[in-house]
């Protein structure tokens, strides 16, 4: 048994343009390195042994966060710290701020990228659940142009995405709609750690807002779950339940219970299965409550934003 702690031999190319990157990525066993804070640790353990690395850090055209045509568009090279400090992201989707605040640590967040996290496809990656809850779309760029894949279809399984040879994740987009509130809740064993479990909620309410006499009703619900084996990071059954429900404590508690029942947590060093299910129920409920308040639903005692 030996832990290597240093990577095996690899070739390195720095991409001078997007086209250059895409042509290099056509080769077998060639991987993108951006922040490198997921890939390089795996290379040090020799769990990943690519033949070549394509460094895309110079492709500034992929580093942006902007509103465009009613969508929040996040370039794949946007760093975690950028998303955390982005005012427009925080205004429309506080779920991303909540999630970024608990990803890794402040130094790692300066370098790790949004695109890199999604492409690493770790089952415990917080952004995957957050983007899944927001029903985001991944923009995959190839030599022949772009193809759009919903984030809910982006991951094939642990550490596997639908990105093919000669392709690169260029952007993630999230449609912005009025009446939306969102939140993310995570439990980890120590600062900067992976989730034991986490839940993200994106709610759109109609009625009952801004002084309207009608009671508010959930028009759309997105629920993302992290680290508990939820298919495509989504709590689909709980989402279906919430449609048309009132955004109240009862609905949220029931949604939490449904989410807990339908995920597949595995007992490991982070905790036993029943504890993880308990967390799913509780965190889903809390995320929903905060999302609803942010969407404009009336607060009740003990609620916090």
């Amino acid at each position: 048994m030996h832990y290597m702690q240093v990577p095996s031999q690899v070739e390195y190319e720095r991409a001078t343009s997007l086209e250059h990157a895409l042509s290099l990525l056509n080769r077998p066993d060639t991987r993108v390195v951006a922040g490198g804070h997921s890939l390089i640790p795996m290379m040090k353990l020799r769990l990943a042994q690519p033949e070549m690395l394509v460094d895309i850090n110079g492709l500034a055209e992929l580093a942006y966060i902007r509103l465009d045509g009613g969508q929040l568009c996040i370039g794949a090279l946007a760093r975690h710290a950028d998303l955390l400090s982005s005012a427009i992201a925080g205004e429309h989707f506080p779920i991303f701020h909540d999630a970024e605040r608990v990803v890794a640590d402040p130094i790692v967040r300066l370098w790790g990228t949004v695109g890199g996290s999604l492409c690493q496809a770790d089952p415990s990656e917080d952004l995957s659940a957050a983007f899944a809850a927001a029903r985001a779309i991944a923009v995959i760029r190839g030599q022949d142009g772009d193809r759009l894949v919903p984030v809910r279809e982006f991951h094939r399984g642990p550490y596997e995405t639908v990105i093919g040879p000669g392709e690169l994740l260029a952007e993630v987009r999230v449609p912005v709609r009025p009446g939306t509130g969102s939140a993310y809740e995570k439990v980890a064993r120590r600062a900067g750690d992976w989730s034991v479990a986490a839940a993200g909620a994106v709610l759109r309410l109609s009625g009952g807002l801004g002084g309207s006499p009608r009671e508010p009703v959930i028009e759309s619900a997105g629920l993302g779950l992290t680290a508990v084996g939820a298919e495509h990071f989504v709590a689909a059954e709980a989402e279906a339940f919430l449609l048309g429900q009132a955004p109240d404590t009862g609905s949220f508690a029931q949604a939490g219970a449904i989410a807990a029942e339908h995920c597949h947590p595995v007992a490991d060093q982070r905790g036993p299965e029943d504890y993880k299910r308990h967390l799913v129920a509780e965190l889903t409920t809390r995320a929903l409550r905060r999302a609803a308040i942010r969407a404009g639903a009336p607060k009740s005692d003990g609620d916090r934003t």
Partner: protein, 156 residues
């Protein structure tokens, strides 16, 4: 491959394997042993240096990725024989015992103070939360950084 990196204002060029980690480039190739290696999982931060003026865990970066860029290390904190307030703070407030985590802590502290000259204590604790100290229990590290915030260069 040939890698040229400007470190603390001086350009160094070396022939290295592409897989060489930046921390080993600094320590073994350039003899700048002030930055340290303490873990296998990018958790401890004893390797923190600046890459293009942003702190980075240099055990998680290839030297090749730093080619043509600039790095600052603990060796560059002192200027013209004058210690940086962060360095002075760690001395004044007993912010170190064995000293192994200290360079990384100071580089992060210097970056924080450059961007937030008067940080709240919670901000200080948050910014070093990705780095480990096994000796001090962190209290004096926080005090040292607070001291540095209060004593900017030239007012000591």
């Amino acid at each position: 491959m040939r890698v040229a990196v400007t470190v603390n204002g001086t350009e160094y060029a070396r022939d290295v394997e592409p897989r060489l980690l930046l921390i080993h480039f600094l320590r073994d190739e350039l003899g700048l042993t002030g930055s340290h290696w303490g873990c296998d999982t990018s958790n401890c931060g004893s390797c923190v240096v600046w890459l293009d003026a942003k702190p980075v865990k240099s055990c998680t970066v290839l030297a090749a990725m730093a080619d043509g860029r600039s790095v600052q290390t603990v060796e560059g904190l002192e200027r013209d024989g004058q210690l940086d307030p962060v360095q002075q703070g760690f001395i004044e407030c007993h912010g170190l015992q064995c000293g192994f985590c200290t360079p990384g802590m100071m580089m992060t502290a210097r970056w924080l103070l450059d961007h937030h000259p008067d940080p709240a204590e919670a901000e200080i604790r948050e910014v070093i939360s990705g780095q480990t100290c096994r000796c001090t229990g962190y209290e004096n590290i926080v005090r040292s950084i607070r001291w540095a915030a209060k004593h900017s260069r030239g007012t000591q």
